[in-house]
């Protein structure tokens, strides 16, 4: 699908074949690990773990790099900003009020990697799982049907509404005054969008009323639980992957709270 919001990349990889629910579990594990550490080394291990999974999944490097580009900025900002606030540890550099400690650098890198981990992990899940599988797994883990079905409709109608919006914007441009060039023009353009409200609401209302008729005519019954057509099966590889993920979290929790809390989490003050 040539769309920005559809990130799925078709590949035949062990990660693609995983039960989507296991991938959601893995995502949860990654989140926990990233949330409980703030030092550079443990955070980088989490990041490596994600990159490893991405490599096995053979998600295209080009797309990952596109994301990484944005991530690098974020990491750089973290590395530059955090040392300004961290006061603990030995002083590496001092100039007037500006004090940079070794802990500051570690936390800066650690937090940068944490954010990167969270974004990359969700990217890996979306790149290796179709929207349909994701929604079906939400169904099986007993997320209410209203919510799942509303998500299906939302995803389905994004491109339709974008199409409608473009048509409206073009029609408006044909009869609107010249908005000139430069930053003021952009503001004028944004301001002019208020006139799109009438047609877009009119179109959406029309589409939804037709949609509700179509749904009813197909026997849609919100009280009823449909037989899911896709069968999600859990195989040994799924169980193994889940076990490794849980073990990883267990180790991190143990290290963070029992064995070596100082190395995993650096106190700021």
């Amino acid at each position: 699908m040539p769309l920005l919001f559809e990130m799925y990349v078709e590949r035949d990889s062990p990660i693609h074949r995983l039960d989507p629910r296991v991938k959601l579990l893995w995502f949860l594990c990654v989140m926990i690990c990233a949330a409980i550490v703030n030092s550079a080394l443990p955070a980088s291990i989490v990041l490596l773990w994600i990159i490893g999974v991405a490599a096995v999944a053979r998600v295209p490097l080009k797309r990952l790099l596109l994301l990484a580009q944005a991530l690098v900025y974020m990491i750089v900002v973290c590395v530059l900003m955090w040392p300004l606030f961290v006061r603990s540890g030995s002083v590496l550099f001092k100039w007037d009020w500006l004090v940079v400690t070794n802990n500051g650098v570690l936390v800066g890198i650690g937090i940068g990697f944490r954010i990167a981990s969270m974004i990359l992990a969700s990217a890996v899940v979306f790149m290796t799982t179709t929207q349909k599988e994701l929604l079906e797994s939400l169904r099986t883990i007993k997320i209410p049907e209203h919510f799942v079905f509303a998500s299906v409709l939302a995803l389905r109608y994004i491109p339709s509404l974008m199409g409608e919006w473009n048509a409206i914007a073009e029609a408006e441009a044909c009869r609107s005054p010249s908005r000139g060039r430069g930053p003021l023009a952009t503001i004028r353009k944004v301001f002019a969008m208020r006139s799109h409200a009438i047609p877009i609401m009119h179109r959406t209302a029309k589409m939804t009323s037709e949609l509700s008729l179509a749904l009813d005519s197909k026997g849609f019954n919100p009280e009823k639980r449909p037989t899911p057509y896709i069968e999600l099966t859990t195989r040994n590889s799924d169980r193994a992957f889940a076990a490794v993920s849980i073990l990883f979290v267990a180790v991190y929790v143990a290290l963070r709270f029992l064995l070596m809390p100082q190395q995993m989490w650096i106190e700021i003050y």
Partner: protein
């Protein structure tokens, strides 16, 4: 045979309307019958469909009187789930709003999941339904990216999967191009042959309908006014025409023969298909022993023009997604000139580049290569607003271009930016309203008008900007014949008053009737450009561009030895027959 549907004394009024939409409708549909419903917009056709599916009274509320019995059950005495989806399934007009799944498969299995069928059965039905509509292998496609015809076939498959006893289709092809229309009708026919279900179709496209329907009913103002086989219905020419129902062109020829009392051709009668028409004409011609003639086509050629062109394109290329790995060349080196007073039709299949080309004329799209000059000005250096004084663009769907809550404000929206005095502005608005025949509508809310009237408001709002060239993108899609002719006559009047017009359409009858010049696009190139009759006589090139000329032209081409290849309207054909019967065979009317 049992009745699949039985309607007795049915009247219905929506909650928010004042008048009844259906008035005392009585109708029986036999099991396995193919019934066509016709009639002008607002006749109550869709409401009748909703009553048959049980959506009225179960989903749509209002006042219902009389009874509707579907598959032996009275709709008002059962729940909706007693009818849908196994009893009766419905396909709606807009393919966009009835496909709500993330892929084709999800749409087709949707109802089956709610029927709680076992998974293996669901899979079997999915394959079967897709096979009937010839979309095998489309399971994982995203509905939004399918063509209109494909979308509508998915919609049919998604209803068919539940194996309904009755299939109701409400204007399933009115938003489709000719290829899409053909696909959908073939699919309906296939359903009928492989799976004996009752079919009820609401349709404006008579030419397709008469080929398949066993029986037709014509509705007007909430009542059934005519009922019978297609042959019976179209025998009453004047009645059908009065109701705004378009007869097939070959039938129209019969009406015209009758009207002009050309008794020597009376045997022609009122055929419904081209083949029938050909056979009947041949019978008369052979009986009269009319000698073959030679018909060198005589055409007006495009005169060399010296006046200043409005639009001029030079080696115009347009490439979508330039610089990405998904480059698509939509226009490939177009050279053409539009002069003042031109009345041009752009024709071609979907994706041939018609709209892309037209959008270059007012700067909505800029050339990837080559240039477009509008009144001598390069569009690359001008914004859409700067060009809007010279070229007005009216979009296909009026709903996309109505931004205000009164007709007056709507029409004032464009010219307000032109720095006119208050009086000038007011004059322009009144003038535009007069041109489209909507005087007195100033204070109404355009959103509550009918589609034809909204389309007129859209045209008026462009007219008020006084463009030299008016572009109208598919002005007649989904309109009944009466609304459609009103719209086209309006455009014709504008052209006669001196405005150049470019219109994009799939309706070849309209092209033949109105356009002075036709430009045929295929795969991003202009394959034909010339006077209408000349373009339509180039059968081979048209075929290559996947265009079917109007029925009457096809008939003339089948009878090449008698007809001039430049016969493009029913009037031409009738005139020709008159000449033939006078013994003249070498008349090739210059058109």
């Amino acid at each position: 045979m049992e009745n699949a549907v039985e309607i007795r004394g049915l009247s219905f009024k929506y909650e928010d309307t004042e008048a009844s939409v259906l008035n005392d409708v009585n109708l029986k549909v036999r099991e396995g019958e193919f019934l066509g419903i016709m009639g002008p917009t607002g006749a109550g056709k869709t409401t009748l469909c909703l009553c048959v599916t049980g959506l009225i009274p179960h989903t749509v509320s209002g006042q219902l009187a009389g009874e509707v019995i579907v598959v032996g059950k009275k709709t008002s005495e059962h729940t909706l789930y007693d009818f849908v989806p196994q009893g009766v399934g419905m396909v709606f007009q807009d393919p966009e709003s009835q496909l709500f799944g993330l892929d084709v498969e999800e749409d087709v299995v949707f109802a089956l999941e709610y029927e709680n069928l076992p998974r293996t059965e669901i899979r079997k039905r999915l394959q079967w339904a897709l096979n009937v509509v010839r979309l095998d292998g489309f399971e994982e496609r995203f509905p939004y990216f399918l063509s209109g015809g494909q979308k509508q076939r998915v919609a049919i498959a998604s209803v068919l999967a539940s194996r309904p006893k009755i299939l109701v289709l409400d204007e399933p092809t009115s938003e489709l191009d000719p290829i899409g229309k053909g696909e959908v009708f073939r699919a309906i026919d296939e359903v009928r042959r492989t799976f004996q279900c009752t079919i009820i179709v609401v349709e404006h496209d008579t030419e397709n309908l008469v080929r398949f329907a066993d029986r037709l009913v014509v509705m007007n103002k909430g009542r059934i006014v005519l009922e019978g086989t297609p042959g019976e219905i179209f025998r009453h020419g004047s009645e059908v025409q009065k109701l705004g129902v378009k007869a097939p062109q070959v039938t129209d020829l019969g009406y015209l023969i009758h009207e002009h009392r050309m008794n020597e051709w009376a045997e022609y009668g009122t055929p419904l298909t081209i083949e029938e028409a050909r056979d009947r004409l041949l019978r008369v011609l052979e009986k009269r022993n009319t000698p073959f003639g030679t018909h060198a086509a005589q055409h007006r050629t495009l005169e060399a023009r010296k006046d200043e062109p409005i639009v001029e394109t030079k080696d115009l290329w347009h490439i979508y997604g330039m610089g990405t790995d998904r480059e698509i060349a939509a226009l490939k080196g177009i050279d053409l000139v539009i002069y003042p007073n031109d009345f041009v039709a752009f024709i071609g299949q979907n994706g041939s580049g018609k709209t892309t080309l037209a959008k270059h004329f007012n700067g909505l799209l800029k050339p990837s290569k080559g240039s477009v000059l509008v009144s001598g000005r390069d569009t690359k250096t001008a914004s859409v607003s700067e060009l809007s004084g010279a070229v007005g663009y009216c979009f296909q769907n009026p709903d996309h271009q109505i931004f205000n809550t009164t007709v007056y404000d709507e029409i004032a929206y464009g010219p307000r930016n032109l720095k006119l005095s208050k009086d000038q502005l007011h004059d322009r608005i009144l003038e535009a309203l007069r041109a489209v025949g909507l005087e007195g509508y100033e204070k109404l809310n355009p959103l509550f008008l009918g589609k034809g009237e909204r389309q007129k408001v859209a045209v008026a709002s462009i007219l008020a900007m006084h463009p030299k060239l008016l572009i109208v993108d598919e002005p007649t899609t989904g309109m009944d014949w009466r609304t459609l002719t009103t719209m086209m006559n309006l455009i014709k009047n504008l052209n006669e008053s001196g405005m150049a017009v470019v219109f994009i359409t799939h309706n070849m009858e309209i092209v033949a009737e109105y356009a002075k010049r036709v430009i045929v696009l295929f795969d991003g190139r202009v394959v034909l450009d010339g006077p209408t009759s000349q373009v339509f006589s180039q059968t081979d090139l048209l075929m290559k561009a996947l265009i079917t000329p109007p029925q009457i032209t096809q008939l003339a081409q089948m009878l090449k030895s008698y007809f001039s290849p430049s016969t493009i309207t029913v009037r031409d054909a009738c005139e020709h027959l008159r000449l033939l019967s006078r013994g003249g065979t070498n008349h090739a009317a210059v058109i």
